[in-house]
């Protein structure tokens, strides 16, 4: 009996961890494209909040969570377009403009919520979707194959992103633009267009990640529902060395640690809750500290490209 209970807890931790990892994974894969092209988007927190609100609002008004997810991506794209204009065309300092967008997203989402929704409202969001056959495997089935659609999507996007980034011409252009934009420009490539595309894609995924919180997880919206996740995403991209597999590893490490500490608390294991709550962050820092190898950031990351300028 104890064995079964132990297995139940272990699988419970995995199921919760996969669910927690989804928004981080989605947003981090998107930010990976953005940063690979050379742009820091610290505005992810604001983008996620806008996606969270519009996903929630659309679901509330239309009754369709899938439409909500779609609209959240459009909201993300619009935020991305603005960030791209500020970072690529106006060549503003990316860190500062990113923080500005975070505040814009926070303020606007809260304002729209106050104006058009009014108070705490729940929605019928995504229901878990059990994958036939795989979901029926004893023990493993419920842990891995009985989740919301966005969870599956997030994990599927890992190999898809890997393929796009490393096996397509466009992916090569993205990587080149992030390393040596001058070379791409000299050869006739369009640095600005590539960066615009990457920022918009990244923001679309961040919008979707935000909507995951409201349409799949909490099934309601509240001011500042993301509570800093957007900034953790930026750290995860660094942790993952700008590669889909690394980002997957980082998101899982963080979220599994988080899930683990929740279960530790719930089961009443004698452990100070303050330490439990910081466990995911500590685990990530420790992993970063002990990991080997130099970190090869995209060389042009954070530097606006100006044709003819030095270096």
């Amino acid at each position: 009996m104890a064995d079964l209970a132990g297995q139940g807890i272990f699988l419970g931790i995995i199921a919760t961890g996969l669910r927690l990892a989804t928004p981080y994974l989605l947003a981090a894969l998107g930010e990976m494209f953005t940063q690979r092209s050379g742009i820091y988007n610290l505005g992810l927190e604001g983008v996620m909040l806008m996606g969270a609100f519009f996903g929630f609002f659309t679901t509330w008004v239309t009754g369709s969570p899938y439409l909500g997810l779609f609209v959240s991506m459009i909201a993300g794209a619009i935020m991305g377009l603005m960030m791209a204009f500020v970072s690529v065309t106006l060549k503003a300092e990316q860190g500062i403009s990113g923080i500005g967008f975070s505040m814009l997203g926070w303020g606007l989402s809260g304002l729209f919520f106050r104006l058009y929704v009014g108070g705490i409202t729940t929605i019928e969001g995504l229901k878990p979707w059990k994958i036939p056959v795989l979901g029926d495997i004893p023990f493993i089935g419920p842990a891995f194959f009985n989740h919301h659609f966005v969870v599956y999507l997030a994990f599927l996007l890992v190999p898809v992103s890997w393929f796009i980034l490393f096996k397509t011409n466009w992916g090569l252009t993205v990587r080149a633009v992030g390393m040596t934009p001058q070379a791409v420009d000299t050869l006739g490539g369009n640095v600005a267009a590539t960066r615009y595309q990457c920022i918009i894609i990244g923001s679309m995924m961040a919008g979707l990640a935000g909507a995951t919180l409201t349409v799949a997880n909490a099934q309601m919206f509240m001011d500042n529902i993301t509570a800093g996740r957007g900034f953790i995403v930026v750290a995860l991209v660094y942790f993952g060395r700008w590669s889909p597999l690394g980002i997957l590893a980082g998101s899982l490490l963080f979220s599994m640690a988080d899930s683990f500490q929740l279960w530790v608390q719930v089961l009443g294991i004698d452990f100070p809750y303050e330490l439990a709550v910081i466990l995911p962050y500590v685990a990530t820092i420790v992993a970063l500290a002990v990991s080997f190898g130099r970190v090869w950031a995209p060389a042009a990351l954070g530097r606006p490209y100006e044709r003819g300028a030095r270096g």
Binding site: I9, R114, A218, N224, V277
Partner: protein, 339 residues
């Protein structure tokens, strides 16, 4: 902009500023104003928003009720929301104090040190904060006796739990959360029947996604009656609503509208009475210095059953709760939160 010289640009900025100033001032006419009655100005500083269906909303609505009783011309209310960080709250409090507000209410346990820091600089202003008990010469501390209500909630949870496991979704181990949890556990123990209480914290007052996750984890681990404090509890309420057969016991506000089939009862505070008391004390010249408790005895705390579900509670359980409440009011039963 390179075409304009430095001087030209400076002139443009000055003209623009002057234009804005003129536009701003030009519209209003100065009429001789009739002497008006002393208008009471109250400022409210909140950690979340006025529509959080919990801690902040209940206080906000209470003051609105006072405003409608006193008349809008006699009471002006200003609100600062999203002051989750005490530093931001401090800036807002200071600003209200310099603007001549009479009573500044910092609604959150986390504001204690910032209020104590600012209050001495404005001795004619009344400051208030809660949950807290340390008052000052011009500081009121209001202290909801959450542990008393929690005791009754704990009894209710223990009696209504079929799985003999109840769960608490906590924010941070501070303020009224700690009093509530301790009272709740004692209530569960008093109800008998070997019911286990489990507590998990999110680490914040505002993390509604985490609160929902903790609720889900509690339920996965076998709990069937849950409770919890702070504005993030709405996330847990929704999670409980998603699993029929589980109940939630609310704190701060009647949350049964949110989940009519899951919220069994709510512990609510009558903030109106405590704020009215502050206004009256101030009128008589007492600007602070008192610890104002909210308890069953003075009618400032209530347990409200959800009308829709009240039939599911056995009568003997309701009777036991009523009797215990009377014992608390009379002082026969004191719930100790020092342990």
């Amino acid at each position: 902009m390179k075409k304009f010289s430095m001087l030209t640009r400076l002139m443009m900025v000055v003209f623009l500023a002057m234009a804005i100033l003129v536009a701003g001032c030009g519209g209003t006419e100065k009429k001789p104003e009739p002497p008006k009655a002393q208008k009471l100005k109250i400022a409210l500083v909140l950690p979340s928003t006025i529509d959080d269906m919990a801690w902040a909303q209940s206080m906000y609505e209470a003051i609105l009720k006072i405003q409608s009783t006193m008349g809008k011309d006699n009471l002006e209310l200003a609100v600062s929301e999203r002051m989750g960080r005490p530093v931001d709250a401090g800036a807002a409090i200071r600003q209200y104090a310099t603007q001549g507000f009479d009573i500044i209410i910092a609604h959150g346990a986390q504001y204690q040190s910032v209020v104590k820091e600012i209050a001495p600089e404005f001795p004619k202003v009344t400051f208030a904060y809660g949950t807290g008990f340390q008052a000052g010469p011009n500081i009121f501390a209001y202290d909801p006796q959450a542990q008393d209500g929690a005791y009754l909630m704990g009894m209710l949870a223990a009696k209504m739990s079929k799985s003999k496991i109840v769960g608490i979704v906590g924010p941070v181990e501070a303020g009224d959360a700690v009093k509530y949890n301790k009272g709740f556990m004692q209530g569960v123990a008093a109800a008998g029947g070997d019911v286990k209480t489990r507590i998990a914290y999110t680490g914040s007052f505002n993390e509604i996604v985490k609160a929902g996750e903790i609720a889900k984890t509690h339920m996965d681990a076998g709990a069937d009656v849950l409770s919890g404090t702070s504005q993030q509890a709405v996330g847990a309420v929704k999670a409980v609503a998603g699993k029929p057969g589980t109940y939630w016991l609310s704190v701060d506000m009647d949350q049964s509208k949110l989940a009519p089939d899951s919220v069994l009862a709510s512990q609510t505070y009558n903030w109106e009475k405590v704020v009215t008391k502050m206004i009256e004390l101030r009128k008589k010249g007492t600007l602070g210095g008192e610890r104002l408790t909210l308890s069953f005895a003075d009618g400032m705390m209530e347990i409200k059953y959800n009308e829709k579900l009240v039939g599911k509670i056995p009568q003997d359980v309701k009777d036991a709760i009523e009797k215990t409440k009377k014992d608390i009011i009379s002082g026969a039963l004191k719930i100790d939160v020092s342990k």
